[in-house]
Symmetry: C2
Subunit: 409 residues, 2 copies
């Protein structure tokens, strides 16, 4: 058994959020297309559900007072005057001493205020014997008990899940007003980066970050078809790409710039954009340290690290929360950490929150956490890892047997 | 801070799994479409990455032996014979006593076996002073260190995440063979059920389960356009719908049958299908108890409860794992539970694993768990709940202040 807790690495971003513009444009879509979308208007119910009292069991509709004191020894004996069918309004009323068969979901006949479960009855025509007393309202649903007319069903800012969509369908609401999806522009930068479908020349490498980021954010927004997707380390090319992207995108992400020189170029190009400001330059996390968070005219610009593992951690810890924020969602998806025990000791730099790629062994309790050898196989170990073990900034490492928090991947 | 652990409610299903046919048909798709799909073939690397040794820092390429004993007091003094550009094969070799500037990612010139970081150097043309000794291989990546030719990159049965797609792109693999998505047929049954866009007549209610289930499984398979989607409680109609669905679908889900009579009909109709068998009838969970798990010619048939909350719990705990299994995935997505403390006491039936809809208050540590009043608002409370609190079968309830496990929604 693994013990988990929640953290919100977005907390460090909270002071920056008010600088980002949230999506305001809305669209009306079918509930069948609405999963994962963010509601742009409060939704109220326009009716009582159920509109009439119903039975929640198979049994007999009764006046509860007629069953008072009923027991197997002294059963109540009621006259059966008919049967209620599930999709019909009952034709008869119940008078004192009378009863009618009622199925689950059947509408209570006038005069009845409760239902005796079939398990506690025996039919002895034309009577029904009842072996248990029922209280007023027992085994029934009252009008509006599931949904009351005029009640707030789902509030603005809610990210719609399957169960919300079930509720909307139940309430007869088949079209909802949601915020449009954020448009996300994703670039990879660097003279050394070539597209995945090419053979890299000397000193070149294929673009891992672009495809990874596009997959990571595919469910959260509309990934724009930017061209080119790979920008060389040249001021003019980068300025042109960023300027064009800011015209249509709601958020721009650039990965790369692993060398200090390129990072400086990215910073300087961002600063040259209209109404721009660098909000952070460098985060106290590793990998993920060389992350730039900026804004231009309310649009977030993320300068993500070039190393794939670093890019992934930063995109996951910082990027997803920013995209959720601009989407209009009023709740951040929490990150889930489990608690495990280190198999071997590791060292880390104090002052930095370190995320080690680890394998987890769930056959022990708590699970055993084994750091992967991360010097080699940067991209490979990231793909193979079960989680990211967090070493808090105040620590200089973890010893074998020590407790550790691991973010599940 | 909330403490969490993992459970696999699928364990109870494990003995049934071998009865279900897994998808065998495959398709080749672009990695850009591959997120969430299950790999149908092992993927091996066809090359060394990097193909040549590279620097991991900005600095100077050196013969490590030339830096032996170097310190700020006794620096090594090397002759700078040139600069390496990031996307070029070095033109010169390094002889003893020589060095070249090298950027991060630059290819090591012949003769060099390490890189001195720029931070520990000073250029005094034509020499470079170095204040630190480096070990052979230091600050370099060796050929194949990230990915070795012939190594297994990702194994068959892996559900592809963003980081796998990054790895594939990096390795130059842009097309992957995946299992086709499972085809899922979803029906709602019951004379009382009407489509969401209609006004229910007496004793009728709108279909919540159909839209909810379609949303829940939308990411996991292809939801078939079955017609009709709502089947009345009639043997012939149900037989026809189920038989037709089994011709194309890989898994069939029917919700409804809240009354014992309808459940019996569903069971009897399933039994009338070719090569069919009921594997379970009733699960020891609440809500979710009246769940039927069956198989017909290797295709799972799920008879889910009619109550939306019951249907949701059963679909989530049982349905998602069965769909994952037939998809070819070799790993089940674990359910995540957090540990909280009950705000009020609740009662439950012993022998049943009960899932209460609850609100969570994260302002306390561990979070406070407040049961929602579930007699009313069955559909509404499900949509509004933050989680499902689990009362183990051996308990008769939980007292205020007692620890409880909550599945996050």
């Amino acid at each position: 058994m693994a013990f988990l807790y929640l953290v919100s690495p977005s907390e460090r971003l909270t002071p920056a959020y008010h600088r980002f513009a949230r999506i305001k444009e809305t669209e009306d879509i079918s509930i069948f297309q609405a999963k994962g979308r963010v509601l742009a208007k409060d939704i109220y119910s326009s009716e009582n559900i159920p509109p009439l009292p119903r039975s929640t069991v198979d049994g007999y509709a009764v006046k509860s007072e007629d069953t008072m004191g009923a027991s197997p020894e002294t059963p109540a004996m009621l006259l059966k005057i008919g049967e209620i069918h599930i999709s019909e309004l009952p034709k008869e009323k119940i008078a004192p001493g009378q009863t009618m068969y009622i199925p689950t979901g059947g509408i209570l006949p006038e005069g009845a205020d409760a239902v005796e479960m079939i398990e506690y009855t025996e039919e002895i025509p034309p009577y029904v014997e009842m072996y248990r007393s029922v209280a007023p309202g027992e085994n029934t649903v009252q009008p509006g008990e599931d949904i009351k007319e005029g009640m707030l069903l789902i509030s603005k800012g809610t990210k719609l899940h399957a169960r919300h969509i079930g509720l909307l369908a139940y309430a007869g609401i088949t079209t909802v007003t949601v915020y449009r999806k954020p448009k996300i522009a994703i670039f990879s930068t660097g003279d050394e980066i070539v597209p995945p479908d090419t053979k890299p020349g000397p000193g070149k490498m294929r673009d891992a970050n672009g495809p990874m980021l596009k997959s990571l954010f595919a469910d959260m927004g509309e990934i724009l078809n930017v061209s080119p997707t790979i920008i060389p380390d040249e001021r003019e090319a980068m300025e042109k790409a960023l300027k064009e992207a800011l015209e249509t995108a709601d958020i721009v992400m650039l990965s790369g710039g692993s060398s200090a020189g390129t990072r400086d170029l990215v910073v300087s190009v961002i600063e040259s954009m209209s109404k721009s400001e660098i909000l952070f330059h460098g985060l106290r996390i590793s990998p993920g340290k060389p992350t730039i968070v900026a804004v231009a005219g309310g649009k977030p610009i993320l300068g993500l690290p070039g190393h794939p593992a670093s890019c992934f951690v930063s995109a996951k810890l910082i990027g997803t929360n920013i995209v959720e924020y601009i989407s209009g969602s009023d709740r951040q998806t929490p990150f889930v950490f489990i608690r495990g025990v280190m198999k071997t000791e590791v060292y880390s730099k104090p002052g930095i929150e370190e995320y080690l790629r680890v394998k987890l062994d769930f056959s022990t309790s708590p699970p055993t956490v084994e750091p992967m050898i991360t010097q080699s196989g940067i991209t490979y170990t990231l793909a193979m890892a079960d989680g990211l073990a967090r070493i808090p900034p105040e620590k200089e490492g973890l010893s074998a047997g020590e407790e550790v928090e691991v973010m599940l991947l």
